[in-house]
């Protein structure tokens, strides 16, 4: 059987699928796992930018599927982690250039070589989504603590259940504790109560995420970032470790202290 195929999806756009994919990929690589990430968002390629690998693209996913190159040729090796690779999406084609069967065939070829194959799904529930989940052993659903994102996550979970891929595990991204305290944002409990699936990560809103993505250095490489820590914790949970969720409920001072404590403890 070999490596595990994990698809990261959400239904709604803009909730942080690509950021999550990049960070979990890097965090797993830091834990000495062999990882290949596949950007399944054909036509709206992004993962290469977040990973800082845009200028190294020669071949892409559609080239592999259509037989213009071998999977190995399309894999871009990460700058710091030699066991971390990216297969970028094509920018000029659309979702129909790849079929679910192509994805299964591709990932089956990669399982022998890698511990994790992480697929970044496009937004939506159409062909691109079906391509992305076709090969998945596990699905991680990213959502934000707002009603529209949770509604879309619910829809996606229903579709996954219908394909016997469900229900998947949940990543709650961009959580703002002070807004939850004021009753202005759904709490993790509210969200899991609605969706009734297992939570694998709670990622706090963090101002370092966007500049990290812009500079192509995923935030999980920043040991001072609380979001980075949350992504590292998700990676450890994927490896079967029991890691408690970061407690976000205390005052800001303690919040930072805990962040430092965890960051220091992991080095």
């Amino acid at each position: 059987m070999g490596g595990k195929v994990i698809t990261i999806t959400s239904g709604k756009g803009g909730v942080g699928k690509t950021t999550t994919t990049a960070n979990i990929g890097v965090a797993l690589a830091r834990l000495n796992q062999k990882v290949v990430m596949i950007d399944a968002d054909i036509g709206l390629r992004n993962l290469d930018i977040v990973m800082g690998l845009e200028n190294r693209i020669v071949y892409d996913l559609v080239d592999v599927v259509e037989g213009r190159c071998k999977a190995r040729q399309a894999m871009i090796k990460h700058k710091t982690f030699p066991e971390l690779y990216l297969i970028p999406a094509a920018q000029t084609r659309d979702k129909t250039a790849v079929s679910p069967a192509d994805m299964i065939q591709l990932t089956d070829g990669l399982r022998t070589e890698f511990d994790f194959i992480i697929i970044d799904s496009p937004a939506g529930i159409e062909r691109g989504f079906r391509n992305a989940v076709a090969a998945a052993d596990d699905v991680l659903i990213v959502t934000n603590p707002e009603v529209s994102a949770v509604r879309d996550a619910d829809r996606v979970i229903g579709l996954l259940e219908a394909e016997n891929k469900g229900p998947g595990q949940l990543i709650l991204n961009r959580v703002k504790q002070d807004m939850i305290r004021r009753g202005e944002m759904l709490s993790p409990e509210d969200v899991t109560d609605l969706l009734a699936i297992k939570l694998i990560g709670i990622v706090p809103e963090d101002e370092t995420v966007i500049p990290s993505s812009n500079s192509g250095i995923p935030v999980t490489l920043n040991d001072k970032s609380l979001a980075g820590l949350a992504f590292r914790n998700i990676a450890r949970r994927l490896l079967g470790e029991e890691v408690p969720f970061i407690q976000l409920s205390e005052s800001k001072g303690l919040f930072k202290r805990i962040a430092r404590l965890f960051a220091g403890g992991e080095r």
Partner: protein, 228 residues
Amino acid sequence: MREQTTVAIKGVKDGLLVTVSESGEWQIIMNDLAARIDHQSAFFNGARITLDVGSRPVRRDELSSLKAMLERRNISLWSVMSDSATSIDAASALDVRAAQTTSMAQGVKPDAAPFNPEEDGTIGVMIRRTLRSGRTVHSHGHVVVYGDVNAGAEIIASGDVIVWGRLRGNVHAGADGDESAVICALDMTPTQIRIAGYISIPPKDKRHKPKPETATIRDRQIVVVAWG
């Protein structure tokens, strides 16, 4: 070439109605249908199909492979008609519209009195899972959900709707005009409920405590009262 009598195709108002034989192997039916489509692929391209399987119980995997076969040919499986609960269940599991038909509904004469729940042979479906957003259930009888009905999910029933769980989505009971239909839930916080021709939106209530409630029509409006 074999006589293709297992499949009948006819054009209807909003697409194509494909009626398949109630006996014979599913694989043969699929092959026949595929052959028919491939024979006139230009005609079928982009079509929307309603599949009538009659009383044939179609399993989820069978329906799933048919759906995939159609999708490969750029045809969408729009809805499934059957009076087999297995087929209806398979369709709703695959997120395809499902409509219960014929013999089950034949028990109810169109001009007859509304459903009598105490009468033998009352028809209905039992759904033993949570209905998530986007899932729609149509039934000519009653619907019982053992699970939640999440916001974005929808139940349309000619009879009553009972939710043994939280009702957050849309429910239309007595959809054929039966004003005696009721809607019950252990926690009644729907997006909207309808009974026959009446529509109701629940009041916004922040400090809502879950309790079983029943919605009925009284004095030409929907009222919600404690259950029991």
